[in-house]
């Protein structure tokens, strides 16, 4: 197991840069929530954001698909590029961006519709399928990728809200995958799940790395260590340390990181 992670990590350092953030500041009215964050997130890699609660992990994550636009008092400064393109450029339509940068939320939030409709909604509004057959195919593929197909294939018309918590979260992942994104953002995707469901979702995240750049916020350091190749430690709105996951957990450079992972702040 350990060996596998090492091998992966060695590989991951050669990956292309997918997302690049440069001197990002975020303000909620007068509250300076993110201070001067620079980070480069690699493609086909799981990057974990850890840090004590309220340090700005979610805020920074939401900058990456401009979900912060929906909060009136929120103001973002600095540059964030995906594949070299500035996502805060006035020419960028956040709606298009969000199809490319999928998001999974802390609490599973399936639409109160059927499982099929949940997954099909994104492709429908983006016109990804020309006919019913293609749509069916996208739904099946997404559910398979989200490791939900076997459980859901016989009840596609059943409401998504009737699934168990872990299944709902995988349904949300399937829904995010269905729009063929390049980046998947996950904000504490397992915090509302029991250990077994958590293990299933973690396994899934590891597989998703094949196709996407995954950024996951987690409050569980064990989870960060288990699923990620890169880890960023946030503290009071600053990005304190960003490095390979095993380096952060075995040999952190900053004393604040060390205190956090050894349980002294948090």
């Amino acid at each position: 197991m350990e060996d596998m992670y090492h091998a992966d990590r060695a590989m991951s350092t050669q990956q292309d840069i997918k997302i690049k953030a440069d001197k990002v500041q975020v303000y909620y009215a007068d509250n300076h929530a993110i201070k001067d964050v620079d980070v480069e997130i690699a493609d086909k890699t799981v990057t974990a954001f850890i840090g004590p609660s309220g340090c700005g992990k979610s805020t920074f994550l939401r900058c990456l698909n401009r979900m912060n636009d929906t909060i009136d008092i929120c103001r973002v400064e600095g540059d964030i590029t995906i594949d070299g393109e500035d996502i805060y450029d006035p020419k960028v339509d956040p709606v298009q961006l969000r199809a490319k940068v999928g998001m999974v939320f802390q609490k599973p939030n399936p639409f109160p519709k059927s499982i099929y409709d949940n997954v099909a909604y994104g492709p429908k509004i983006h016109g990804l399928a020309r006919n019913k057959a293609e749509l069916d195919e996208i739904v099946e593929k997404s559910l398979r990728k989200a490791a939900l197909w076997n459980e859901a294939k016989d009840r596609l018309t059943a409401p998504g809200t009737g699934l168990s918590g872990g299944q709902q979260q995988r349904l949300c992942i399937a829904r995010a995958i269905a729009t063929a994104p390049e980046v998947l953002l996950m904000d504490e995707p397992c915090s509302a799940l029991d250990p077994i469901a958590t293990a299933q979702v973690e396994e899934l995240i590891d597989e998703l790395r094949q196709s996407y750049s995954v950024v996951i916020v987690t409050h569980s350091m064990q989870q960060a260590a288990r699923v990620s190749q890169k880890t960023a430690f946030f503290h009071l709105g600053n990005l304190v340390e960003y490095d390979d996951t095993d380096k952060i957990f075995t040999n952190p450079e900053d004393s604040r990181t060390e205190s956090y992972i050894s349980g002294r702040i948090g």
């Binding site: 698909n65 979900m67 929906t70 961006l97 969000r98 939320f105 909604y121 509004i125 949300c172 269905a178």
Partner: protein
């Protein structure tokens, strides 16, 4: 010191006593409320149920050609020159014949006997004859309205003692009526015409109906629904989902809440000034009434719609935006369908409120006495624009009249109004139960 769980200590006793007292107060309050409701319902039902029954006299009326058609060729222009005054003696004769046939002897004058028949009956028969001129020359069976006093006698409102003091009837007339009823000529039966006929003058309560009022109320409800629902829902969606939260929207919000509390008569004054004086719509028309009620209902609809939109969890909006739906798509595909039951409930309750509203309608002149179906209610006329009345206004109107028969009519109208309100509220409750979703 060790305390026993088996003996309640002083604090616990006090707390339990307070709780018991509180429950008793609540129970007493509910009893008082139920009693009030019970008294209200018994009084209204007791007074009003009889308005759904009406006394009729079955007469075989000979329709003589020499009186009704001087032309002899059924020329309508000639026939219509014979007014109801010409028909009244014909009906009186028919009643006299019926008395003779039953062998009922009386000292009453023919005029007093004629008074047992409603003045409305002549008009009814005349209309039937003009509609079907071939009836002239034949003897035709009609169920004609008995006068209000005779009707009142069979409903217990008029007694021998009261008739003795009454210029419009006499104990002898009541005795004849009783004899005719025993012979099966006079019958009290279900009164469909109460829901069909328009209002009638002070002298003929037996012919007064709710037809125009029901239609007027219906037309106003249509105006309110067509205007208030889309405007209210659209503005709520804008305010709740799209508008920036700043001082201006706060101001608007406070104003809408205040508008909901504005006394309805103020809306009447507003309607009078804007719709009648400035825009010169017809006074007393369902259009103006509907517009005024729309203004009054809008705040209710906006407030309940906003509450329904607010109750849709933000996670649903996030989910939609997260897969790349636009703001509008997230609202129309997800938020609005989830809020729909709440919106519908609010709308129906707003409509029910509007249906029972009286004061603003009085101010825009809907209190006018409407004797005829407005031309607007015939399908080809310009709908909505003509003078009409409405259910609650009709109640108000009838309670102003002196003849006690109108108390019965007013109570009947109240029952009708209550039934409509009950139906609307039941629909609202059904919709809420049926479509409510829990998270």
């Amino acid at each position: 010191m060790k305390t026993s769980l088996l003996a309640a200590d002083a604090r616990t006793k006090k707390r339990n006593a307070a709780e018991a007292r509180f429950k008793a107060y609540g129970f007493a309050a509910i009893i008082v409320a139920m009693l009030a409701l019970l008294i209200l319902l018994t009084s209204v039902l007791g007074n009003g149920m009889s308005s759904f029954r009406q006394t009729y006299i079955a007469l075989d009326v000979a329709l003589p050609e020499e009186k009704l058609d001087k032309s002899g060729v059924r020329d309508l222009s000639v026939m219509s020159k014979v007014t109801t005054i010409g028909y009244a003696p014909i009906l009186r004769n028919a009643l006299l014949d019926a008395l003779a046939a039953q062998g009922i002897e009386t000292e009453l004058s023919d005029k007093d006997i004629g008074n047992m028949i409603s003045k409305e009956a002549a008009a009814t028969v005349r209309n039937k004859v003009l509609a079907n001129p071939d009836l002239v020359g034949q003897t035709v069976s009609f169920d004609v309205l008995a006068s209000g006093r005779i009707d009142g006698y069979f409903k217990g409102r008029v007694t021998m003692e009261s008739a003795a003091l009454d210029g419009n009837t006499s104990p002898e007339a009541l005795m004849i009526a009783q004899a005719l009823a025993d012979a099966g000529v006079i019958e009290t039966k279900f009164n469909w015409n109460f829901f069909v006929w328009p209002d009638a003058s002070d002298q003929r309560p037996e012919a007064a109906g709710l037809g125009v009022a029901i239609l007027g109320s219906l037309y106003m409800m249509i105006v309110v629904l067509v205007l208030a629902l889309p405007i209210g829902v659209a503005s709520s969606i804008y305010l709740e989902e799209f508008a920036p939260k700043n001082r201006w929207t706060d101001l608007i919000e406070v104003n809408i809440s205040n508008l909901a509390a504005v006394p309805s008569i103020v809306y009447g004054i507003l309607g009078l000034a804007i719709f009648i004086n400035f825009m010169e719509f017809n006074q007393s028309s369902p259009l103006v009434g509907g517009l005024v009620l729309t203004l009054m209902t809008l705040p209710t609809i906006i407030i309940s719609t906003r509450a329904a939109l607010k109750s849709v969890p933000p996670s649903i909006r996030d989910a939609a935006l997260g897969v790349g739906a636009s703001k509008m798509q997230s609202v129309f595909h997800h938020v609005l369908p989830l809020a729909a039951p709440g919106i519908l409930t609010g709308t129906i309750i707003g409509l029910a409120q509007a249906l029972g509203e009286t004061a603003p309608l009085l101010l825009i002149g809907m209190v006018a006495f409407v004797r005829e179906y407005p031309a607007a209610y015939t399908p080809d006329a310009g709908l909505f624009g003509e003078a009409s009345t409405a259910l609650p206004v009709q109640v108000f109107n009838w309670t102003q009249r002196s003849d006690p028969a109108f108390v019965e009519r007013a109570s009947g109208a109240i029952i009708t109004l209550l039934v409509f309100l009950l139906i609307m509220n039941a629909v609202a409750i059904y919709l809420r139960r049926r479509f409510e979703r829990r998270w």
